[in-house]
């Protein structure tokens, strides 16, 4: 029965990922997750004895790893770093528009909600952002930049991307992302 159990677990994580990205940690009730994941309450606490926090942490981790993989696979598939950043922003903008602004950064909402009050989730968010920054910095080092330069620039590029996602969702328009795209190129060429 290991297989069926794993499927239920995965369905719950998937449901939590979508809902939490759209409405945040406090904005999603377990009943919603259970309904979307088509699972009874007992299954949730069987697979996630740590309750809502554990489920949310695993959902954030999964979404974080997906973005990490996206960055690293694009980095391999693309001729230069400028194209990498542009591809990331294009992909995120398309994803956001396709979801009618229910999707943006899968981490940011929770990160802001729990920054000062939930240590375990805050740590998950911090680590996830750290991983993304590292993925960008790796590429910048491959371009010939020093470690310090790469870390600085990767952090600013990540901030520009995250901020553009916030503005785009808030205004329900991809314009901020397109503008950030041009500014990112300026930062890369500086």
């Amino acid at each position: 029965m290991a297989v069926k159990g794993d499927e239920t677990r995965a369905r719950l994580i998937d449901a939590a990922r979508t809902l939490v990205e759209a409405r945040g940690y406090f904005g999603v009730g377990l009943n919603q997750v259970l309904e979307a994941g088509k699972a009874p309450r007992g299954s949730l606490y069987h697979h996630f004895p740590g309750g809502k926090d554990q489920l949310t942490a695993e959902a954030l981790t999964a979404s974080g790893q997906e973005i990490d993989a996206l960055i690293r696979s694009l980095a391999d598939a693309v001729p230069d770093t400028r194209t990498l950043i542009e591809s990331i922003l294009d992909a995120l903008a398309d994803r956001m528009e396709g979801a009618e602004y229910a999707k943006g950064c899968p981490i940011a909402t929770v990160a802001l909600e729990v920054a000062a009050t939930n240590d375990s989730l805050q740590k998950v968010c911090a680590d996830t952002y750290g991983g993304w920054q590292q993925a960008l910095a790796d590429r910048l080092v491959a371009d010939g930049r020093t470690h310090d330069q790469a870390e600085d620039l990767a952090c600013s590029l990540l901030a520009l991307i995250e901020g553009a996602l916030v503005l785009a969702r808030a205004q329900r328009s991809r314009t901020p992302i397109d503008r950030a795209r041009r500014s990112a190129v300026i930062l890369l060429n500086a």
Copy 2:
């Protein structure tokens, strides 16, 4: 009793501003607001017949106007736009650290939580961001930039600032803000 009533109203808005900035729309219960604002439940629905949404909207608007005023007053007090941006980021970083990362952008958390599901609050967030962007763009036009250039750059600077605030809160460190500060100067000089 107009005076006393207005004071109660103001206390509730102040309490909502602080709590909502720290934990977001869904993360704050009216009981918390009432306790922090030292008011009974009846007063809340007397002053805010629209309930939680109205209270939140007014809290966001007040916080938004405060930042707007900060930008515009700094713009008058400072010799160049570079110093303006640096002053804004320094002020925001100090404020965040001083609150142990319970403060960041007073709008962002709610903006992300309600982007796709609460039209009235989404509109408040969008308008607030629009106002900030306009305040920055006004200064850039005064520097001699065209209207379009100013709008583009103001949007990217705002994204950079917002993103830095997200990363700084998520990682509980002012480093992302300091790095964004240097990148903002690059964008201004480009």
